[in-house]
Assembly symmetry: C2
Homo-oligomer: 140 residues x 2
């Protein structure tokens, strides 16, 4: 990996591929991409950049591993537990273990955020279809 | 810790203290502050925000642990090994083990960057005074 990887001004980086967020059909989401910026041995961690297009949203899910998030582009909402928080550029979000969470871009612009996770992490759990409405209530 | 900690637009965050970069006299540096944004158990990692005032610079040092860096404010130079790289907002810098490195803000504006490190890391080594000139040569 190069020592310096320049950003191109559109939230893409030299030598960093734009990946699918998840396989289509694996879980509900809308208009999200994923880029792995760092993948380190010590700490065993990944720093990823997710971008949610205007009006899009990530999967509503929970898991044991924590997320440490910094928004670096745009605005939106973070649903974490029983609260929907307004978030904007440089805001920090901590997602605790086994807490339902979902990121929504605003209608007007993309929401881009860094997300630090352990390399050794459990798979997300999805809500049952009848649970989604209650969990999502703070967004309405 | 709060789930969301808002940024105030000046690279300060709710509930995050602005710390000394290092104790005065511990090592050479000029006009640097440190903020610990995340301190996680799994991964055992810290994500810090360093800000170097216009014209300032961090300590020239090396260590076994690696740095994963993203610039989020301003411009400057990163000396890593035998090269001085121009860096700007959102550029990524990887500092390999035991590689001399130093960050310099431009003369006009501060340089602010995120730096991901292991919680379990070795102490930095400083160059002997007669080594500094040779190591710093790429900056001139």
């Amino acid at each position: 990996m190069s020592i310096v990887r320049h950003a191109d001004g559109t939230f893409h980086w030299e030598g960093v591929d734009v990946l699918k967020y998840k396989d289509e059909g694996a879980a509900p989401f809308k208009d999200v991409t994923r880029q792995v910026l760092f993948d380190t041995q010590d700490p065993p961690a990944q720093l990823r950049y997710f971008e949610v297009a205007a009006g899009g949203w990530t999967t509503l899910e929970r898991h044991q591993h924590v997320h440490a998030v910094m928004v670096i582009r745009g605005r939106g909402k973070a649903l974490v537990g029983d609260t929907a928080y307004d978030i904007g550029t440089h805001d920090l979000v901590s997602v605790p273990p086994m807490t339902w969470h979902q990121f929504h871009a605003s209608a007007e612009e993309p929401l881009g955020f860094l997300c630090l996770v352990s390399s050794n992490r459990d798979r997300p759990q999805l809500p049952d279809s009848h649970e989604v409405e209650a969990i999502s209530k703070p967004l309405r």
